[in-house]
């Protein structure tokens, strides 16, 4: 069966300067986009242009470059709004990364609304960013955590969803696993949450960069994601929330920009979204994220998904064909249910050792617990090796991964 993609990945690759470099004398094969994506020239140029021509602090300057900087920052907010179909820019809050977005929710909404004994429903496949902030609230408030279990092939086991969600005040789950690649049925989850009056929070770190997101169709109350996995720069994240909820929430970080008035005896908050954006914003990074969204939108996020679906099918097929029982790829077997993230076990090699040999072949994969230690424990492993793809990867990259794995197998052949 021929696999087709709507994208011309070769042309796309030319936009990503890092993909043209060599490591250990070989062309780099970057298969770690689930950790962070590469950046197209358009993003780097947008930030560079900002710094070289209009760098200045925003929202307060009357002079021309400060006004331009403010406009570009707010234009980027509008781009994010459109990208996720939020109903207003007031709902788009810039943070430093998805981790801060989730902590903001726990500390602002959580502290204001949760009391001892209240139940928060998470899943066994969550990233530490969606676990540890809740643990902190457990310690502080005595809330309770419940965990949605997984099926053998790494999907959420929703058999007892009704019982699990019963009495919960919050549901907080990832839209796509950064370890298993599993794409979760978000709408089923948010519907169940709403039915019992719980709010729902979606960790969109792995989904927003790779599939189309419509927050109004998602049925969720909040969505968190990071810029650096979305072709954007480091140092920038997003929290989307429904305006009614954001408006009620107390501030998280206090300081300049987020106030309306400050007196010796108190302060009043600024309007949304600025109420949650204290201090000098990550101006260049916000502009860079806007450029990343422009780039992705021009290509079409559905085309990105189609391309990665093709790569997923190719990867699952090729690796099993080449290595048979020597390789175990965790997670769902159907490309339809998963994104382009492949955690695998290979022979009896430790993921670190695999990754070390792969590096000699300029193949970059991640080895470790992927910030999902509870999931590792459930899987009965300490770590996995993980390859992950994005719009700039090709079937040739997967072939190179296969070749490098073969070499690793020989190197450690006892």
């Amino acid at each position: 069966m021929a696999l087709t993609s709507p994208l011309d990945a070769e042309r796309i690759r030319a936009d990503f300067p890092l993909l043209g470099r060599e490591v250990h004398g070989k062309p780099i094969i970057y298969l770690d986009s689930a950790a962070t994506s590469q950046k197209p020239n358009a993003v780097l140029d947008a930030m560079d242009l900002y710094y070289r021509t209009i760098n200045s602090n925003v929202h307060r300057g009357v002079y021309q470059i400060a006004e331009q900087a403010t406009n570009e920052l707010e234009a980027a907010r509008e781009k994010v709004r459109a990208f996720i179909n939020a109903s207003s820019v007031a709902e788009v809050i810039f943070t430093k990364n998805a981790t801060e977005s989730l902590n903001l929710l726990v500390q602002s909404w959580g502290r204001a609304n949760l009391v001892e004994g209240d139940v928060v429903l998470l899943s066994h496949m969550e990233h530490h960013a969606n676990i540890v902030p809740w643990h902190m609230l457990v310690a502080e408030r005595g809330i309770q955590l419940r965990w949605i279990p997984l099926t053998a092939d790494g999907q959420l086991d929703l058999t007892d969803l009704d019982a699990l969600v019963e009495g919960a005040k919050v549901l907080s789950v990832t839209a796509m696993s950064n370890v298993l690649g599993t794409i979760n049925s978000v709408r089923t989850l948010t519907d169940a949450a709403r039915a019992v009056g719980a709010i729902s929070i979606i960790d969109g770190c792995q989904s927003v960069p790779h599939t189309s997101t419509d927050v109004q169709a998602l049925g969720a109350d909040f969505l968190a994601f990071s810029g650096h996995k979305l072709l954007g720069p480091t140092g920038i994240g997003v929290l989307w929330g429904r305006e009614e909820l954001l408006a009620e929430m107390p501030p998280f970080i206090g300081g300049g920009e987020m106030i309306r008035d400050v007196r010796l005896d108190g302060f009043t908050c600024n309007d949304l979204p600025w109420k949650f954006e204290a201090g000098t914003p990550a101006i260049a990074e916000i502009i860079g994220l806007g450029a990343a969204i422009d780039y992705l939108s021009a290509i079409g996020i559905d085309n990105v998904r189609a391309h990665e679906r093709m790569l997923t099918e190719y990867t699952l097929r090729t690796l099993s064909m080449r290595f048979g029982d020597d390789i175990v790829i965790h997670g769902p077997t159907e490309p339809e249910h998963r994104g382009g993230v492949f955690s695998f076990a290979f022979k009896d090699l430790h993921p670190h050792d695999i990754s070390q040999v792969l590096d000699e072949h300029a193949v970059c994969v991640r080895a470790g617990h992927h910030c999902a230690k509870p999931l590792m424990k459930l899987m009965g492993v300490g770590a996995t090796a993980r390859a992950s793809v994005y719009l700039y990867n090709t079937t040739a990259d997967i072939d190179a991964l296969g070749d490098a794995l073969e070499a690793a197998g020989s190197f450690f052949a006892f």
């Binding site: 009357v62 006004e67 207003s88 007031a90 949304l272 600025w274």
Partner: protein, 156 residues
């Protein structure tokens, strides 16, 4: 490129130098509302009296700020005094419509030109040049937002 003359029309400077309806009203009975421009520190205090027909029987302006915010408040006070809440609503929409071009991109409600009430803006027309200086739009609209809040609270 817009020049300073587009912004600082003679009539604006006149209202800035000689503000109309400057002062206070005893509150209560008058409604007193403070408005802040959180980004630059401009403050407007609106004192408002509505009579039984929902007509602005008296208005006074306090606070401090730049020529644009102060002259806008002064012109506003002159334009609304003696008018009904409904008329003032139309005037506000018309004024904001004139200003809306950039405010929409900053998250304010934008008003489509077609929806604008057919109202004569008079002196207020002089503030049209402000739209070419987007940072100053908030200066020009501060008084109007504060007035809207005062009317809301007085009618509540």
């Amino acid at each position: 490129m817009p020049g300073l003359e587009d912004l600082y029309r003679e009539i604006i400077l006149d209202h800035y130098r000689n503000p109309r309806n400057r002062g206070e009203l005893e509150s209560p009975p008058a409604q007193r509302v403070e408005g802040f421009n959180p980004l630059c520190g401009d403050e407007i205090v609106v004192y408002l009296e509505l009579d039984d027909d929902e007509r602005i029987s008296d208005i006074r302006i306090g606070g401090q700020g730049c020529s644009i915010s102060q002259s806008s408040a002064s012109m506003m006070s002159a334009a609304v005094k003696g008018h009904t809440v409904a008329e003032v609503g139309d005037l506000t929409r018309a004024f904001k419509g004139m200003m809306s071009i950039h405010e929409s991109s900053l998250g304010g409600e934008s008003t489509e030109p077609e929806d604008l009430p057919d109202v004569k803006l008079g002196d207020l027309e002089a503030l049209r040049g402000v739209v070419k200086f987007p940072v100053r739009i908030k200066c020009a609209t501060l008084a109007w937002n504060t007035l809207a809040q005062a009317i809301d609270e007085a009618s509540a």
